[in-house]
């Protein structure tokens, strides 16, 4: 088992991917990124505010050793997502893209059909495609066949903090796809991150749970430790679950007491 996370041609030692949205300030985001130990952060692409073109650039607050993963958040069609991905590449930060095509506005649930179609096209165009998807194992197989470089099932709806609602989905994915499985969306606390990793996820992507914590920097560190603990636990292999107790102390050689 390799101890690095390999996504296409990119190698990462950290298994925690961090989102850059919803921080109160750029400075706080920078501190949280440092505390998380992440080597990959997501960003979105939006219009420049022409009334304030000198706004500080988000990129100025991302440490040098941390790679940028542009997302296609906010896209509802294949064409929109393709355009955003191509624009992000034109901005000159490499081939990585987090493909996200939404099919339901309230749940921010991925559109599986559009997502599969866009994956095929982006792979053909040479992108390193990390695909946000539903926890559907059959779709995961199709995405893998389409050449996705990482498959990212949601734990629960984006920003909901509900945790990983279907842990079995991680096992199902891991048994069926050849590329990294990254739990994206829904992680609310360190225990959620740890559970995802212990269940065999290759990485987790966390934004709101860090950015909206009372103390984002402390939470970033907690998530780093949770991801590491979960990964180690997975590699160590947990004991089997038993229906009844099994004594930890010897059952023989007990002295005569209370007689």
């Amino acid at each position: 088992m390799s101890n690095v996370l390999q996504i296409g041609d990119y190698t990462f030692r950290s298994r925690l991917i961090v989102g850059t949205g919803k921080y109160e300030t750029h400075a706080m985001m920078r501190e949280a990124i440092d505390a998380s130990g992440t080597e990959l952060v997501t960003v979105a692409l939006r219009r420049v505010n022409l009334n304030n073109p000198d706004e500080p650039s988000l990129l100025d607050f991302i440490p040098e050793n941390v790679r940028i993963l542009p997302n296609t958040a906010g896209c509802y069609t294949v064409d929109e997502a393709l355009t955003v991905a191509r624009l992000a590449r034109a901005a000159g930060i490499g081939t990585l893209v987090k493909l996200e095509i939404i099919g339901d506005k309230n749940l921010l649930w991925p559109d599986p059909i559009a997502t599969l179609e866009a994956t095929k096209i982006l792979v053909r165009e040479g992108f390193t495609v990390m695909v946000y998807t539903t926890p559907d194992p059959v779709l995961a197989k199709y995405l893998d066949q389409a050449g996705a470089h990482a498959i990212m099932p949601l734990g629960s709806p984006i920003g909901s903090g509900q945790g990983v609602l279907d842990v079995e989905a991680i096992h199902r994915f891991k048994h069926r796809v050849s590329v990294p499985v990254i739990v994206d969306a829904g992680i609310g606390s360190p225990q959620d991150a740890c559970l995802a990793m212990e269940s065999g996820a290759d990485a987790v992507l966390i934004n709101t749970a860090i950015a909206q914590a009372k103390n984002p920097v402390l939470m970033a560190r907690a998530m780093k430790l949770a991801v590491e603990a979960g990964r180690l636990g997975f590699e160590a292999g947990r004991m089997p679950r038993l229906a009844q107790a099994a004594a930890s102390s010897p059952t023989s050689g007990m002295m005569a007491l209370g007689q």
């Binding site: 989102g19 692409l45 420049v48 022409l50 073109p53 958040a73 901005a91 984006i158």
Partner: protein, 66 residues
């Protein structure tokens, strides 16, 4: 010259190419991506790609996101 930039009508004087347009708007070339009439303009073509009257332009940059 009249342009639609990021969804809003703008009048810019003497804008011949994408680089000129960004300069007039005070936008740093290094941190943006540009689309003219739906066509993405790669950074190395900013100085050569023309911007004409009534063109529709999108100028985007990276912001925080998940």
């Amino acid at each position: 010259m009249r342009l639609i930039i990021n969804g809003e009508p703008r009048v810019l004087p003497g804008t011949g190419n994408v680089k000129d347009m960004l300069d007039r708007l005070g936008v740093d070339h290094q941190t943006v991506a540009v689309m003219v009439n739906g066509e993405i303009v790669v950074r190395t073509n900013f100085e050569t790609h023309p911007v004409r009257d009534n063109d529709t332009v999108e100028i985007v940059r990276f912001v925080g996101g998940g």
